[in-house]
Symmetry: C2
Amino acid sequence: MARNPDTLLHLLLHAAHGLEDRLEAAFASVELSSTRYQVLEQLAAAGEPLALGELADRASCVRSNMTQLVDRMEKDGLVRRVGDPDDRRSVRAELTALGRERQKQGARQLAAFRKEFAAALPARDRAALERLLAALG
Amino acid sequence: MARNPDTLLHLLLHAAHGLEDRLEAAFASVELSSTRYQVLEQLAAAGEPLALGELADRASCVRSNMTQLVDRMEKDGLVRRVGDPDDRRSVRAELTALGRERQKQGARQLAAFRKEFAAALPARDRAALERLLAALG
DNA sequence: AAAGATTGACCGCTCAATCTTA
DNA sequence: TAAGATTGAGCGGTCAATCTTT
């Protein structure tokens, strides 16, 4: 996204990209992506299998996306599909032991990353950043 | 990317995403994407055909990505491939009349969007934002 | 008919492997 | 051998169409 590099807009988007790349690298160190972590996190927090549509809603993505994501995660042994006896249209995703393990590792990576971010953030700029984010809302 | 919504890191990434979505929508209104616009912009600025590798370097992406992007843009009539007589390994992309037209429309959209962004940005927070971006560098 | 999931086609990106020309 | 471009496979996202169950 390197249009017109001398623009504050550009600098902001570029910084956000860099941040995301580094976060992605942190997750990659435990063989996850932020997308996969997000799913594992939801399932761990829920403490029970969740319907794919429910997962898609929580991830703010489209249903077909979750279908394919769960395909890949299932192939890698992170989750498994289980049917819902009460509504046979529904398919739920359930954590496997491996998925549970990876979720914990991912959580540690994320916590460390957040800490690093907070440390890099000039303390006196927190308020300004919060105003900015509110203005962009 | 909705992990842990009450985190400053998360808020920043979320805001950047929102910004990008809106920028993308602005480009879409003239049947472009930010990616395609970026290529058109480089070609217009250069004033001559550019090798695909050169375009990939300027877009900070991998060569194969540019091959495929130019495939799609060529199919849509925005650019055309031309050979380089001086180095027969090289393939250059050249703007078509349609590509030139779209680049101008895209530039107008981008300018309007930047203006809108600047207006939404609390003036007293500019300095803080610049420090923040420097710290994240 | 409406909801849940899936499929197929596409955008945009990565990597590894390949083919051609220098 | 190096460099330039392409191909093929995969991730992650969209949309439109489809199939099953409610």
